[in-house]
Amino acid sequence: MNEISSIPTQPEPEHLAHTGDVLEAILLGELDLDARLSVGAALATLYDVFPPYNPRPAATESIDLRTGIRQALDALGSAVDEAGSVQEAVRAGRTARELRDLQDRL
């Protein structure tokens, strides 16, 4: 049996999946170290969940940092409103906080 397939996963809520797509697309672009670390930290916060979300195709096209942050914050706002649990809501809030800090530094 493939070991990876034996790990239980859970479906990813739509708005969080969109946020993840946008953040990964940001990372495909040209970024300075601070932005790369901050977006990476936001992604880590977003996916700090057990069981992990189902795997999905990686982003192939990059997106501009400022545009991406705006889109991600919008998606996270919807994710907070529609959160199914305390942990999901707060995780979305923490991810948004990291992105907002980065946005303030730009």
Binding site: S6, I7, P8, V49, F50, L73, L76, G77, V80, D81, A83, S85, V86, Q87, A89, V90, R91, A92, G93, R94, A96, R97, R100
Partner: protein, 461 residues
């Protein structure tokens, strides 16, 4: 709304604060402080009840929550009514409301419906998640306080922030090492009535009911704990007076128990309760007191059968009072007076080395309750029986106190009491109020040794 719905609402408001920032202008600082204080209060209450169930390892989180500053510039009702000047101020007000509603739902739930076993981990994870968010928001409050020159309070928030975030993360991840099943929603406590006690016949049942009311009360203010202790002591003295068979060790044990319970009196002045409770337990105790008072006025006494049944019911009440007091201290619902501690005059207990004195008095009484249970259950052994060793103080020992007789106007019988018991009964029943002789609190030890987190890691198949 149910507890889980309120928690969901609270989480959404906290998440919005995280996303949009919790820094507020000076006019909204009271709202931010009230919101912060309400969440910390809720988390402490839930965490304390959960860690009391099975896993003591997560108590480090309770300690970090206890270290969080809880400053209330204005009463919550004023804050909710007042208009806010900023989006963050509005969110903090909503957080305060949601946290208070959630705590109300939690407090009014039956113990049986609260998560236990594996399901408790879901609740622990929620508490840790919100605690981590509170730690992050401490930064925003500290920033707001700094802008208005409240540097010392700002420093308190910054100092307590790091520990809370670290421990909360650790507990959240620990909880996540296994499945987090969704617990059933909480069931509200069904309304309980108070049993009238017109005659001594109802006394044993009323005492058992008092135990049930104490055990089911989520909040029992310290003054009520003292008053109930006093009524229990009064009952013990009456029961002792009714058990007059030679060689019976029960009367002396009951008088000694009454003495220990009377020592509980006088400590509530230095404790400020945050919640007042339903008042049913104290009403039940009042019913018992009135019956005993009437009995005394008529010069009657309890029958030996009723006295023995009543005596049996007393140690569980003492235990219930101790449990209630410990629970509330642990949950941070009883604030202790700290004279000379600047603006933070009333703060929660910081752990087992920093507790109100009333707890020690109740523990001593509870410990002695075992002696009462043992002696009350024993059949009288007669005057020739070998004397049993007893921890009863000499002052209340029937062998050392001069016996006096009181004529009973109604029955003409002679009621035997010891002079010491009379003295104690006068103390217990005299005046109606409590004499508050306070002594200084014990030393404060701000840190407890760290405990290891103990959830076993569950391997994924």
């Amino acid at each position: 709304m149910t507890y889980r719905q309120e928690m969901g609402r609270l989480a959404r408001e906290v998440a919005k604060l995280l996303a949009e920032g919790g820094t507020v202008p000076s006019q909204d600082i009271p709202a931010a402080l009230a919101g912060h204080s309400s969440v910390v209060g809720l988390l402490r209450a839930v965490q304390a009840d959960l860690s009391a169930t099975e896993w003591r390892g997560v108590s480090e989180l309770s300690l970090e929550l206890a270290r969080q500053p809880r400053i209330n510039d204005q009463p919550l009702t004023s804050i909710i009514m007042a208009p806010t000047r900023s989006r963050a101020g509005d969110l903090w007000t909503r957080v305060a409301k949601a946290a208070n509603f959630a705590q109300q739902e939690w407090d009014q739930s039956t113990m049986a419906s609260r998560p236990f076993g594996d399901t408790a981990w879901s609740e622990i994870a929620d508490v840790a998640t919100l605690a981590e968010a509170v730690g992050l928001l401490d930064e925003d409050i500290a920033h707001s306080l700094n802008t208005v020159g409240r540097w010392r309070e700002a420093a308190d928030f910054r100092t307590s922030q790091t520990g809370l975030i670290g421990v909360a993360q650790e507990v959240r991840r620990l909880a996540g090492t296994g499945p987090l099943p969704t617990a059933q929603d909480l069931q509200p406590i069904t309304p309980e009535t108070v049993i009238p006690v017109p005659t001594p016949k109802q006394l044993p049942e009323a005492l058992e009911h008092l135990t049930a009311l104490i055990n089911s009360a989520n909040n029992l203010p310290p003054a009520q704990v003292e008053l109930i202790s006093r009524v229990v002591a009064e009952t013990a003295v009456y029961a002792a007076g009714a058990l007059r068979q030679p060689g019976d060790p029960a009367p002396a044990a009951l008088r000694a128990h009454a003495e220990r319970l009377s020592a509980v009196t006088g400590h509530s002045k230095r404790i400020a309760p945050l919640r007042m409770g339903s008042g049913k337990a104290i009403t039940q105790a009042q019913q018992i007191h009135h019956m005993l008072r009437n009995l005394q006025l008529r010069g009657e006494t309890l029958s030996p059968r009723v006295a023995r049944a009543a005596a049996r019911a007393l140690p569980p009440i003492t235990k219930g009072l101790l449990d209630a007091a410990e629970r509330q201290v642990k949950r941070g619902l009883w604030l202790m007076s700290r004279e000379g501690n600047g603006p933070m005059r009333w703060t929660a207990s910081l752990g087992s080395t920093d507790e109100p004195r009333i707890l020690n008095r109740l523990r001593e009484a509870h410990k002695h309750g075992a002696t009462v249970s043992r002696f009350v259950g024993l059949a009288p052994t007669g005057s020739k029986a070998k004397k049993q060793p007893s921890p009863i103080p000499a002052r209340f020992s029937p062998d050392r106190s001069p016996t006096v007789a009181h004529p009973s106007p109604s029955s003409g019988k002679q009621l035997e009491h010891t002079a010491a018991a009379d003295e104690l009964l006068d103390f217990l029943t005299g005046g109606g109020g409590i004499t508050l002789n306070q002594s200084a609190q014990g030393p404060v030890h701000p840190r407890e040794p760290r405990r290891l987190l103990t959830r076993p890691v569950q391997m994924v198949a």
